[in-house]
């Protein structure tokens, strides 16, 4: 197996290429992003400017910005940071019926202590259940897409109705990296297609859907902008965890995204066992490049299982039961061929083909260059088939 000499990306990753020094194109993208978004003095300056913009826009309003919270460390610490910078966020949580007790308690503790208002958006479980089942039946790798899309849609929806112009998200390319599009690309058009063909006909009444025109409207007309503070500010997950535990009695749940049981299932069971996909390779590589861990540590972590077999089986059984899948249905799903994002229609080709025309719009929608745009320079991002 070929492994990138600077990170731990290997040739199981679609679209990966290596240069004569064994350095992968994913590594080059990561380096390019790091150069584009320097932390330290410059990063702090850029961030302060954004803070000033947010405060100016939030004047005479109850909130300056929206922060999506999951109970995980990234978003919890983001609330803490926003508070430190004198911002008045509205915290928003999406409830997809799989939140863990630890996640819920973490949200409770942090928002209570900071006095931050919390809004939850509860999706009717029968709807999200039908969507999650549909994604599994479709043989998609990243089956938690309905949740991810709903989180984004919810933030825009609440931002629009509350007149809030800034959405802060706890994404950090330095600890997460760029996932190959084959594994994770998704959009509302594809979700509709998959639901129509693999769902059981449950009508989506509460499920929030952010269509491409609505996204453009939100940005261009309502002036809503997506900001990623960790692109600018020093953020070390381990340090942040320690601080959050000390200040808020925040609790660690172990494992990236394990605050939500369905995400845990997707990440630690579905992807590795059905698709031989280990998303940790991307996350850990990014952390190696940002010097949060050494390459040896990353390789050692990859040799570790996601969790014990017994724990994973418990999670799997719970998911099967909660999704109302009989043994027969589950086994059928498990045995069905693995697909990826290019097996189903989406807006990918449309966006890809009009990326140049879209650039001015992107500038209005995002306070940063989306990673997929930066990626187009170093990765093969052409739509397949």
């Amino acid at each position: 197996m070929m492994i990138c000499t600077k990170g731990v990306w290997d040739d199981t990753i679609p679209g990966i290429t290596f240069d004569e020094n064994g350095v992968s194109n994913f590594c080059r993208l990561q380096e390019q992003m790091m150069a584009e978004y320097p932390r330290g003095e410059k990063g702090r300056e850029d961030w302060k400017k954004l803070v000033a913009d947010m405060k100016a826009a939030g004047k005479n309003r109850r909130y300056d910005c929206i922060i999506g919270v999951s109970g995980g460390v990234d978003s919890s610490y983001l609330l803490h940071l926003a508070h430190q910078y004198g911002l008045r966020p509205l915290a928003v949580n999406l409830d997809n019926g799989f939140n863990s007790e630890i996640a819920v308690q973490n949200i409770y503790k942090v928002t209570s202590k900071l006095g931050v208002d919390l809004e939850t958006y509860v999706i009717d479980y029968e709807e999200i259940k039908d969507l999650l089942r549909a994604y599994m039946k479709a043989g998609m790798p990243w089956i938690d897409t309905p949740t991810d899309l709903a989180i984004k849609a919810t933030m825009y929806k609440i931002a629009r109705s509350e007149g809030i112009r800034f959405i802060l998200r706890g994404n950090d390319f330095r600890s997460e990296g760029k996932q190959p599009k084959e594994w994770t690309y998704s959009d509302s058009k594809q979700l509709r297609f998959i639901h129509k063909h693999f769902g059981s006909g449950v009508r989506l009444k509460t499920y929030p859907l952010l269509t491409l025109p609505m996204l453009v409207y939100s940005g261009m007309v309502k002036g809503i902008k997506d900001i990623r503070p960790y692109y600018y500010l020093d953020y070390k997950k381990q340090d942040a965890k320690r601080l959050m535990m000390e200040l808020y009695n925040w609790k660690d749940y172990g494992g990236h995204h394990h605050e939500n049981l369905f995400t845990k299932f997707s990440m630690a069971f579905w992807l590795p066992r059905k698709f031989a996909i280990d998303k940790r390779k991307i996350n850990l590589s990014a952390q190696v490049l940002s010097q949060a861990i050494t390459r040896e540590e990353a390789l050692a972590q990859l040799r570790q299982p996601f969790a014990t077999d017994a724990e994973l089986e418990t999670t799997r059984a719970y998911i099967q039961k909660k999704l109302d899948l009989s043994d027969q249905e589950y086994n059928q799903i498990w045995a069905a061929p693995a697909k990826n994002t290019f097996d189903y229609p989406s807006n990918y080709a449309l966006i890809f083909n009009s990326i140049n025309q879209l650039k001015p719009i992107l500038k209005r929608l995002y306070a940063f260059t989306p990673m997929s745009v930066s990626a187009s320079a170093v990765l093969d991002v052409r739509p397949k088939n």
Binding site: G97, S100, E101, Q105, T111, D117, L118, T120, V122, D124
Partner: protein, 255 residues
């Protein structure tokens, strides 16, 4: 140290969990099994789950659902909704419920409570009493999710149910439900003075202090709450929560 039971009271409507205000304006608050799982992890004393459509639809609370609750709940739990037969109680207990809650059918067939408690023991049989003031009138017992007035006097009814063998009464003020302004203390006080069996206060808890007054002032034996355990903060965010053991001890034993 003395510590009354503190019981999350969850309402089931179709397959979803809902929260009401004055037995109306039902808001969807999520998947019941997830809530049960979280209450279990938070170590709630006991749970109570009521299917609010069952009586109207002429059926009993779903057995499969009760079984699923049993899978996630390590604590005792009571279930109610449309119970009309001894055989139904038997199935519900076999499915994992420790107690059953009966309301509408107790009014229609008061002797059923006697038969049920003879069969299963009074500790299994909880009678739920929903109370509201009739327009310009006195407080009286309502059934079928607060939609039907019975003309029954709450205190006399409570005594009758005790005499018939009910092991526990859960007493809900419809006007206080979901308001989070505190229980109807006068009602609870009168009720707990009238009967010797445990009276569980329900309807109106908005903060932990309300538990204390229900017990200390109105002599309730236990307290139940909905909104308090599912809503958080000024925007009523849906976030399951439950006080810590130490907190509960402090509430009921103020120094």
């Amino acid at each position: 140290m003395f510590r009354p039971r503190v019981i999350p009271l969850l309402l089931l409507k179709a397959k979803g969990l809902v929260k009401s205000v004055k037995f109306k304006d039902y808001t969807y608050i999520g998947d019941p099994i997830n809530a049960v799982k979280i209450f279990n992890d938070l170590r709630a004393d006991e749970l109570m789950l009521l299917d609010i459509l069952a009586t109207k639809e002429g059926r009993c609370i779903d057995l499969d659902f009760v079984r699923q609750v049993g899978d996630e709940a390590n604590m005792p739990f009571a279930v109610g909704g449309g119970i009309q037969r001894i055989s139904e109680i038997k199935s519900l207990i076999n499915a994992g419920a420790e107690k059953v809650v009966i309301n509408s059918f107790a009014v229609r067939e008061p002797s059923f409570i006697k038969a049920a408690s003879d069969e299963f023991g009074s500790s299994t049989i909880v009678v739920s009493i929903d109370i509201k003031k009739k327009f310009l009138g006195k407080q009286q017992v309502y059934t079928e999710g607060g939609s039907r007035s019975t003309g029954l006097d709450p205190i006399a009814w409570a005594k009758q149910m005790e005499a018939n063998g009910a092991g526990e009464l859960i007493v809900t003020s419809i006007e206080h439900d979901g308001m989070m302004q505190g229980y109807d203390l006068a009602l609870l006080n009168a009720m707990s003075a009238a009967v010797r069996i445990p009276v569980v206060a329900a309807g109106g808890a908005g903060k932990l202090d309300h538990f204390q007054s229900a017990v200390q002032t109105a002599h309730a034996s236990a307290v139940a709450a909905g909104s308090l355990f599912v809503y958080h903060g000024p925007r009523k965010a849906v976030l399951v929560n439950y006080p810590k053991q130490e907190e509960l001890v402090t509430i009921f034993n103020p120094s």
